[in-house]
Amino acid sequence: MTREDPRPLRVLLRSRDGRLLDLEDGGRDVTLEEFRARLQTGERLRVRHETTGGDCTLDLLLQLVATCLPKEGGLLGLLGDGGTR
């Protein structure tokens, strides 16, 4: 649980057409799946919007939750069990 080293903050860019770019990695495309994986490994991520320059990390988080979760049971999964699985 403890991560002793300071984790650098990585800022990704949300392009006008909705793609996610990692400028520190040559402007490579980052898929939502990868974003999630990187988040889970403990990377500190922030997302900025290309045009407005504003922070849109939260929008991405919500999108992430919204798009990758239905695969694992969807809304109905919630009704099946409320406890742990």
Binding site: L39, G42, L58, L69, E72, G73, L78, G82, G83, R85
Partner: protein
């Protein structure tokens, strides 16, 4: 001797009880009564100073309770002096020998015994140079401290119980046992410096993501001796800020706020006293937080309700605030909930306007706390401490970067909070994920979220949120929903609330 001391304690209790009782009527108090309150407040402070270090600590904790004592006492207690005189180093030498062994001197190349850095209530602090050449700070407990404090604790407990029995109305606003517990918990690190060292280690873990926030390294800790690295720069109340660039000042200010917000809402452990004297600043190095003796801890429910309160404030939502607050505390038999809601309807627009512009969430919280008490709602003592801590950090930040936009920092900090919580959620909690999904997928309004959150926080785990009409959800035996989801929702809510405010309703697009 001890009889005289007991008399003083009894006297102090009498003064405090009268203050607590008369401070109930804060509005429309006559001039003569105010003057009387003022005189009594001064006597309270003097008696406390006279009784010594333990009581000074009690006074400092009372100073976080705007819901309990009068304004006059709050003001007096703010000026509470640890009127301890500086004692010669000889007094402390035996402690060093007992704690570090007969060859203790070999650890130090130099000790500045002539001018101690600080002469605190229960300890004295020296600047030293270690054998390896590093400069450090040595804190040594005054001899005989522990015995004295234990005796004082016992007499406080006795006196508080007597007062509680004699004047039952006190119980309406003050949870005596919980308050005593807070006081005793706060004393612990002063008696055993290894507890302070543990707080510092935890603080360092919390600070690891911040380039510009530091906690001194602990070189050595025993119950009565603490050796730590010297904080670079000057205390914020002494520093010459003209040598800092604007960018450096703003950086430090926003780092400090973000760090504290994370403490309040993610780690739920926070530095209780981040006043300017406890924050050292240096243009390149950034800020160092010292004095980790007093920390606050918040449980999850309190944490999420706390965020709700701030959110409601940010949203200018009096009703939401009143209900979140009521759930955070306990309505006594004397409670006037409707009155409280009315107070909030009057007060919230005023404090919202001020809070957002002037970075005054702490003062806002304190105001609400006070209204709640007047309407018979008893609030957890931790909230007083939280309010005080927020007030202090806001004051400190205002000092270093008065131009910082509270709104921006708040949003920024909470984005950080949200990312951490989302990580937690995504990584480990299947069930919680689905709940979040539900919220995102459904056209939930802030109100629905709020009622969901309230249910979670209340440990009523039936999900009657209205997202899925007519469906209840099975209960969550492990309380995982409560523990994991509530804070996430709370933080999310807060961000949404603030954004909505900032974007003038632009966020409504999603829901």
């Amino acid at each position: 001797m001890s009889g005289g001391r007991n008399r003083k304690v009894a006297h102090l209790m009498t003064l405090l009880v009268s203050d607590v009782l008369t401070s109930r009527e804060r509005i429309g108090v006559e001039h003569a009564e105010l003057a009387r309150q003022q005189r009594r407040a001064r006597r309270i402070r003097e008696t406390i100073e006279n009784l010594g270090p333990f009581w000074v600590k009690v006074g400092q904790i009372l100073a976080t309770r705007s819901d309990v004592v009068s304004d006059a006492v709050l003001r007096e207690l703010a000026g509470l002096q640890d009127s301890v005189h500086c004692e010669p180093f000889d007094v402390f030498e035996p402690v060093l020998r007992q704690e570090l062994g007969p060859r203790w001197r070999a650890k130090f190349r130099e000790i500045d015994t002539v001018s101690p850095l600080g002469s605190a209530s229960l300890a004295q602090v020296y600047r030293v140079v270690l054998a390896d050449g590093r400069t450090a700070v040595l804190k040594v407990q005054r001899p005989g401290t522990r015995e004295r404090v234990y005796a004082d604790m016992a007499s406080l407990r006795r006196a508080a119980r007597i007062a509680g029995r004699a004047v039952p109305r006190i119980g309406a606003v003050l949870d005596i046992e919980a308050t005593l517990q807070v006081i005793f918990d706060c004393m612990q690190p002063e008696l055993d410096f290894t507890a302070e060292a543990k707080h510092m280690a935890q603080g360092q873990r919390m600070a690891r993501d911040f380039k510009g926030i530091h906690i001194p390294d602990v070189y050595l800790a025993t119950p009565r001796v603490l050796l730590q690295s010297l904080a670079p720069g000057e205390a914020l109340n002494k520093a010459d800020l003209s040598v800092f660039s604007d960018k450096q000042r703003r950086r430090i200010g926003s780092d400090l706020l973000t760090f504290m917000y994370r403490g309040y809402f993610v780690e739920r452990m926070f530095h209780a006293d981040p006043h300017p004297g406890n924050i050292f600043v240096h243009p390149e190095h950034g800020a160092t937080l010292i004095d980790w003796g007093m920390v606050g801890r918040i449980d999850r429910n309190l944490g999420s309700l706390g965020v709700m309160v701030l959110t409601s404030l940010a949203q200018n939502d009096a009703r939401g605030l009143a209900s979140a607050w009521t759930e955070m505390g306990r309505a006594t038999p004397f409670a006037d909930l409707l009155g409280f809601q009315e107070d909030m309807t009057r007060l919230v627009p005023l404090i919202t306007a001020a809070a957002l512009e002037d970075l005054d969430f702490g003062i806002a919280l304190t105001n609400v706390l006070r209204c709640a008490a007047q309407r018979g709602i008893r609030t957890s003592p931790m909230i007083g401490m939280l309010g005080k801590s927020i007030t202090n950090i806001e004051g400190s930040v205002r000092r270093i970067a008065p131009e910082l936009s509270a709104l921006e920092v708040f949003e920024d900090a909470l984005t950080d909070v949200m990312v951490e919580l989302a990580r937690d959620l995504l990584s480990r909690e299947q069930t919680a994920r689905r709940v979040l999904e539900l919220i995102v997928a459904g056209n939930s309004t802030v109100d629905q979220l709020r009622s969901l959150l309230r249910d979670l926080a209340n440990r009523e785990l039936t999900m009657r949120v209205g997202l899925l009409p007519g469906h209840g959800m099975g209960s969550d035996g492990n309380g995982i929903l409560t523990r994991r989801v509530a804070p996430v929702l709370a933080a999310g809510l807060a961000v949404w609330g603030v954004r909505r405010l900032a974007a003038g309703g632009a966020l409504a697009r999603g829901g």
